[in-house]
Symmetry: C2
Subunit: 238 residues, 2 copies
């Protein structure tokens, strides 16, 4: 189905007229990031739900694996183009092809700061708590539910403790943090942070020890593109 994305930028740009199709699962953090980016850039898109738990995992269906041999969401397809995979590669692609509004600052050192926050979440927290990893722990290693949940919390807590230190440092006078990770304008750091905080809350990880993370996620969570991208607001939400 077509999602009417409310353009928050000058539209009528020919770039924006190209058809975009997102293969997504409402609860996937990686898909959530791309949904936020599409919303921030005011890009409408077709939403194709891929249920990660139904039918033995719809991401493993041959037709989907043909699109993405990794059998993971999201995939973004533009017109008849190649399927684009890896959420942050997709977001960089959107940034390069639809630069307004920018999701990265201009100065290289600031871009490195923003990307490092995004990648800390995308590389060092999220992959460890991905569904396929939790399945492996349960089914192959036979860990208990308590051990599995402790694992889940451990990687969020380890990652968030380091991230809180970095963000709190930048929240002082002359620092980069504003209402959001970089000033008051959403960047790829925020679109990684919010889904990770959503997961943490869902797993009951206490967040009051990460006040800067909590404050930024709350501020971002009020922005319309973030609200529309939230798992509960997707057509495949349960």
């Amino acid at each position: 189905m077509m999602i009417e994305s409310q353009a928050n930028t000058q539209s009528g740009d020919a770039e924006q007229a190209r058809a975009l199709t997102l293969y997504s699962y409402f609860r996937s953090s990686a898909a959530y990031r791309v949904r936020i980016a599409l919303g921030l850039k005011g890009l409408p898109y077709d939403y194709v739900p891929i249920h990660l738990l139904r039918d033995g995992g719809q991401q493993r269906a041959p037709r989907y694996v043909e699109l993405n041999p990794e059998a993971l969401v999201p995939v973004l397809i533009e017109d008849e183009g190649d399927p684009l995979t890896q959420s942050l590669a997709i977001v960089e692609y959107l940034e390069e092809t639809r630069p307004e509004p920018p999701l990265l600052p201009r100065a290289p050192a600031d871009r490195a700061y923003v990307r490092s926050i995004a990648m800390q979440i995308a590389c060092d927290i999220h992959p460890l708590d991905n569904l396929r990893v939790l399945f492996y722990l349960k089914k192959t290693l036979g860990v208990s539910d308590d051990q599995k949940n402790a694992w889940y919390r451990h990687w969020i807590e380890t990652g968030f403790a380091a991230l809180e230190t970095r963000l709190a440092r930048e929240a002082g006078p002359g620092g980069r943090v504003g209402r959001l990770c970089f000033g008051d304008t959403p960047t790829i750091a925020d679109l990684c942070l919010v889904p990770q905080v959503f997961n943490a809350e869902r797993m009951g990880v206490p967040l009051d020890v990460y006040p800067t993370i909590q404050r930024i996620a709350a501020a971002a969570g009020e922005i319309e593109a973030f609200v529309r991208a939230a798992p509960g607001n997707q057509v495949d939400a349960e």
Copy 2:
């Protein structure tokens, strides 16, 4: 100590005169990626070894955690600037501040392809086999060495199977693969691939089922910047 990097580009650029310091561990894949990038761009740098296993892990020493609250390598510091973290954020920074020779193609769809390969490795393979994860499996979950090694191989094999499919598709006529992941010129895809293949070989993962990966890694491995960045050629090699 100072590493004399052989400039393979026009040097004498003022950008290149800035002092770079890399905190590295010879066997770290993430540090290895950055070493390759520095070499490809002909940038000399100071190498500060951080031994991940000695002294209870030198990356956990307060002075290092001050640089990188994540307590991971690598960190790159330029002059008196902020410590830069996350290998791919560092490489993008080098690409933006020292564009020659480019490590990304020009067209957005090609850049997305290259970045997606890099990120598939950096997000979906490498973090699962990181030292801290293996420690957790051993110490907290009490898995056996066999189970730990099977875990290690599982994530490489899962990732490489998908990657082989993607690269083999692109290796046909009109595809993007040449001697390397994108044509014959090294990109950030190759600088992620080679360290991951190094790890796989070290763990005895059979690679002949991934002929395209194997062929590209072998071709890249002959390029001087890759040779000089190899773990065995670092001052802290054991």
